[in-house]
C-alpha cells in the first residue's frame, strides 16, 4: 500500500475535478448547440420532425444516463472503432444535455405570446427569422435561470461517466479509496469537490430566478 498524505489526495482529486469541469463545459456547450437544433425540430412547422424531436426528448428523459452512455460506448464499438472513454462520455452527456435543454427551452418559447409569432409572420419574416429575431431574444430572458439550474445536473451527470472508465472526479476517488483504504475520507472529499462546483451554480441560478420574478411582477 502506498502512503498518501491528505495533500496527495487533494492534488489527485483536483486533477479529477479538472476533468469533471472540462467534461461539464464540453457537454453543456455542445449540448446547448444540439439542444437548439432539437428545439427547432420540436417547435418548427414540420409535424413529422416535431414528433421525432418529441420522441428524442422522451427517450433521453425516460432512460438512465448510464444506459445512454453504455449505448454510445458499445454502439460506436460496433462499428469497429475503439472509443476512448472521454469521447463516449462527451458524446453521451452532450446528447443527454441537449434533450433536457431542448425541453426547458421549449417551455420558454411557448411562454412567448402567440401574437408575437403572428406579428412577425405578417411582416413576411420566415419561420427561422421569426424564431431568431423575435422569439428567441425574448425566450432567452426567461431561459437563463432554468438553464443555469440545469448546469448543476450536467456537472452531477458527469459522475456517471466514471462507470465507463472516464477518470474524472468520482473515478479518481474510487481509485484512491481502494488504494488508501480510506473510503470515508476520500468520498467525503469527492463530495466536497462536487459541492464546490455545484453550489455556486445553484445559488447563482436561484438568484437569477428571484431577480427575474422581481422584475416581471
Amino acid at each position: 500500500m502506498m502512503e498518501f498524505s491528505i495533500w496527495d489526495l487533494i492534488r489527485n482529486l483536483g486533477v479529477g475535478a479538472a476533468w469533471t469541469l472540462g467534461l461539464s463545459l464540453t457537454a453543456f456547450v455542445l449540448g446547448g448547440v444540439v439542444g437548439l437544433l432539437v428545439l427547432a425540430a420540436r417547435v418548427g412547422p414540420w409535424p413529422r420532425l416535431n414528433r421525432l424531436a418529441k420522441a428524442y426528448i422522451v427517450v433521453f428523459q425516460g432512460t438512465p444516463l448510464l444506459m445512454q452512455l453504455f449505448l454510445v460506448f458499445f454502439g460506436i464499438a460496433l462499428a469497429g472503432v475503439d472509443v476512448p472513454a472521454w469521447l463516449a462520455a462527451a458524446i453521451g452527456l452532450t446528447l443527454f444535455t441537449s434533450a433536457y435543454l431542448a425541453e426547458i427551452w421549449r417551455g420558454c418559447v411557448e411562454a412567448i405570446p402567440k401574437g408575437q409569432w403572428e406579428a412577425a409572420a405578417s411582416l413576411a419574416l420566415s419561420w427561422g427569422e421569426q424564431l431568431r429575431e423575435v422569439i428567441l431574444p425574448q425566450a432567452l430572458r426567461i431561459a437563463v435561470a432554468p438553464t443555469m439550474g440545469f448546469s448543476v445536473q450536467v456537472v452531477k451527470g458527469t459522475a456517471v461517466t466514471s462507470i465507463i472508465g472516464f477518470a474524472e472526479l468520482t473515478k479518481t476517488g474510487s481509485i484512491l479509496a481502494n488504494a488508501t483504504f480510506q473510503p470515508f475520507l476520500v468520498y467525503g472529499l469527492v463530495a466536497l469537490g462536487y459541492f464546490l462546483l455545484c453550489f455556486p451554480l445553484s445559488r447563482f441560478a436561484a438568484r437569477l430566478e428571484r431577480t427575474f420574478h422581481a422584475r416581471s411582477h
Binding site: 412547422p45 405570446p113 401574437g115 408575437q116 403572428e118 406579428a119 412577425a120 409572420a121 405578417s122 411582416l123 413576411a124 419574416l125 420566415s126 427569422e129 429575431e133 423575435v134 431574444p137 425574448q138 430572458r141
Partner: protein, 241 residues
C-alpha cells in the same frame, strides 16, 4: 381588382366558420367588416395573409395566389400588412427597431436606409420623437400607431386591421382612428374589422356585414346604414346603435 376572395371555406373541427366567402376589393378601397362576435370576421381577415389556413377556395392579392394547402406565404405577405387588436409590438426592440426589423431582415435594406424609412413611417403616425423609446414606455394608442408604422414600412398593397381600437382606453381611440383616416385619404387599401360604426360609415367605401360565416349583406355604407335590406343587419345595427 387588388384583392379577390372566391368560395372560401374554413372549419375549426366540426365548426364550419366560413361558408363560402366571396369578396372583391379594388385598389384604394376601404372595406369595413362588421358583424356579431363569432361571425368569422377575424378568421376571414387572417386567411388573407395566411395566418389561418382554409379548407377550400382561393385568395388572391395583387396577383399573388394563395391556395388551401399552400405553405410558402412570403410573396403574399410582402403585399399584405396587418395590425392587431393587441398591438403585438416586439417588447425587446426599441420602437425604431420594431419598424426596421422587417425591411432589414426580409428586404435586406441597408441599416441607414432602414433607419430613414423607419423615421419617415414614425413621423407619418406622429411619433417621430419615439424612435428610441421601448414599447412599454408608450400609451396603448401610441403603441398601436407604432404597429401601423411597422406594417407600413413594408409598403404593403393592402393593410388588414382587426379591431385595432378595441383594446384601447376610450380617450385613446381617436388618435388611432385619425391615423387610419389619414391612410384612407392617402389612397391606402384597407380591410378593417371594426365595431366603430360611425367610423365605418364615414371612412369606408364598402361595408360587409358577416353573419354566421357568410357575407350576409354588403354594399355602399351610406345605403346600408340608411336602409338595411336584411332583418339581421337591421337587428345588428339596432343593437350596436
Amino acid at each position: 381588382m387588388l384583392v379577390r376572395i372566391d368560395g372560401l371555406h374554413k372549419h375549426f373541427g366540426a365548426n364550419h366558420v366560413l361558408k363560402g366567402i366571396d369578396l372583391r376589393v379594388k385598389e384604394g378601397e376601404v372595406v369595413a367588416l362588421i358583424g356579431r362576435s363569432g361571425s368569422g370576421k377575424s378568421t376571414l381577415l387572417r386567411s388573407i395573409n395566411g395566418l389561418e389556413t382554409f379548407d377550400d377556395g382561393l385568395v388572391e392579392v395583387d396577383g399573388e395566389r394563395l391556395h388551401a394547402d399552400q405553405t410558402d406565404l412570403r410573396a403574399l405577405r410582402l403585399k399584405v400588412g396587418m395590425v392587431f387588436q393587441q398591438f403585438n409590438l416586439f417588447p425587446h426592440l426599441s420602437v425604431g427597431r420594431n419598424v426596421m426589423l422587417a425591411p432589414r431582415t426580409v428586404r435586406q435594406t441597408s441599416v441607414a436606409e432602414c433607419e430613414s424609412l423607419a423615421r419617415a413611417m414614425l413621423a407619418k403616425v406622429g411619433l417621430a420623437d419615439k424612435f428610441d423609446a421601448y414599447p412599454d414606455q408608450l400609451s396603448g394608442g401610441q403603441q398601436q400607431r407604432v404597429a401601423i408604422a411597422r406594417a407600413l414600412a413594408m409598403q404593403p398593397k393592402v393593410l388588414l386591421c382587426d379591431e385595432i381600437t378595441s383594446a384601447l382606453d376610450p380617450e385613446l381611440v381617436n388618435e388611432v382612428l385619425a391615423t387610419v383616416r389619414q391612410l384612407a385619404s392617402e389612397g391606402m387599401t384597407l380591410i378593417m374589422v371594426t365595431h366603430e360604426m360611425r367610423f365605418a360609415r364615414e371612412v369606408s367605401d364598402q361595408l360587409v356585414f358577416m353573419h354566421q360565416g357568410r357575407v350576409h349583406e354588403s354594399g355602399d355604407p351610406k345605403d346600408l346604414f340608411a336602409a338595411p335590406q336584411t332583418a339581421e343587419l337591421a337587428a345588428f345595427l339596432g343593437a350596436v346603435g
